[in-house]
Amino acid sequence: MAGSDEAYPAATPDLHFASMQEALRIGVLALQGAFREHARSLSRLGAEVVEVRKPEDLDGLDGLVVPGGESTTIMQLAELYGLDDAMRHFEGAVFGTCAGMIVLDREHLGLADLEVDRNAYGRQVWSFEADVDLAGDDLPLHGVFIRAPRIRELGAGVEIIGELHGDPVLVREGRLLLATFHPELTDDLRVHAYFLDLARKRKAERKLAMTTTGGVDVGA
């Protein structure tokens, strides 16, 4: 049934190992949407997962996942308690999937240098599963695309990591990772492991910045 996913390969052992060196504290925005699945994937990789519903929940986090859901709903709930501003000032790594990517784009929080078309493939009957080609990895990644958005335009600093028929579907911009599909709905943990590596690098950078500036966290 839903959720059982034995046909898909587990993450490669070295990625597993990389992610388990040190427990990272990762928040999952839990206003609305598929936050439980992200929490499960991250926990399986050894991260300590915290549900984020209010600005103070962001304190002390190394990374934040903005899950899929309805972007209009997520934005409205975020604005109610000032979580939108808190997220703009959050300095850890951030991973947005589907609606979460929309929340982070130029038009919304303005963190990611992307322009995105919502529901670009059509309504639910046009939702689909397909293999995504990953840069530097021969093994394709099975992607679940649900009323998925499409990246219309991306800024110069955005690196394409995954493509579907020539369209960018998984991209990275510095400490940000963005997917138009749902890696949390399959048991392939490669994308989450990649995000944890970003979060770890970001944590090291911030630590270094803290020591060189005499305790002032300069951020990005």
Binding site: G3, G68, G69, L77, V125, R147
Partner: protein, 306 residues
Amino acid sequence: MAEYGTLRVKTGLAEMLKGGVIMDVVDAPQARIAEEAGACAVMALERVPADIRRDGGVARMSDPQRIREIQEAVSIPVMAKCRIGHFAEAQILEALEVDYIDESEVLTPASLSHHVDKWQFTVPFVCGATNLGEALRRISEGAAMIRTKGEAGTGDIVNAETHMRAVFGAIRELKTARDDELYSAAKEHQAPYELVRWVAENGRLPVVTFTAGGIATPADASLCMQLGADGIFVGSGIFKSGRDPVIEHEGWVEDVSRRARAIVEATTHFEDAKVLAEVSTGLGQPMVGISASSLPDEERLEVRGW
């Protein structure tokens, strides 16, 4: 090669709706109010349950014109109801590309023994259930989402509470059952053994489970979430509340918008009583409602479906 209409794609959309509120709407203006209030989806229907109850007669699928207007008015998913067993209505709704079909007991059933064979469709279905067996039978027919039934159109939460406890209580019992007891459990629940075993092993239904029927206040929404619902359907509870729309239309829009938003907030912050107290304040008149226990048997909607 892209694959469409897979079980994962169907259940996946329900996963994205979790923690959200799906609101019943009859036309585009109501759909806009719902979207602006933070609904994660809207449900298009001909009349809200309270009106179906009041007016009687046969309740059917909405006019496609209305559904198209709602689809154009909002960007969130649009669901629509078909009658139990009315696969032709379901085919029409699929052709209209609604995002989810609710095979619903709120409409007048079209079959006394057969639900729609939901595996034949690309569009996903949500179905109602009063107990675990009923939920698993619907899942075996292809439902990709379950909503526990309440007594729709009453504004009385008691039946929703009863059925959530029935479904989640039965799941807790299965979790502690011995493996060799699951065969007889399958017989008792009149559900396929494989699904009963899946539930016993995983401690939940294999699909997202919302609750519906009689939710009228933020506190009702919190009660349902605390009892284990993944999200909430609100029908008459929003658009049948507030000032009289005929006498004071502007005031009514304000009332229903405030209540809709309060229920959305309560569903997200269901465990935070301070937020609940705040959002419950000054909401105006809730829907008047009918005590579900005062209904004669022939007027109860929840017993439809089998």
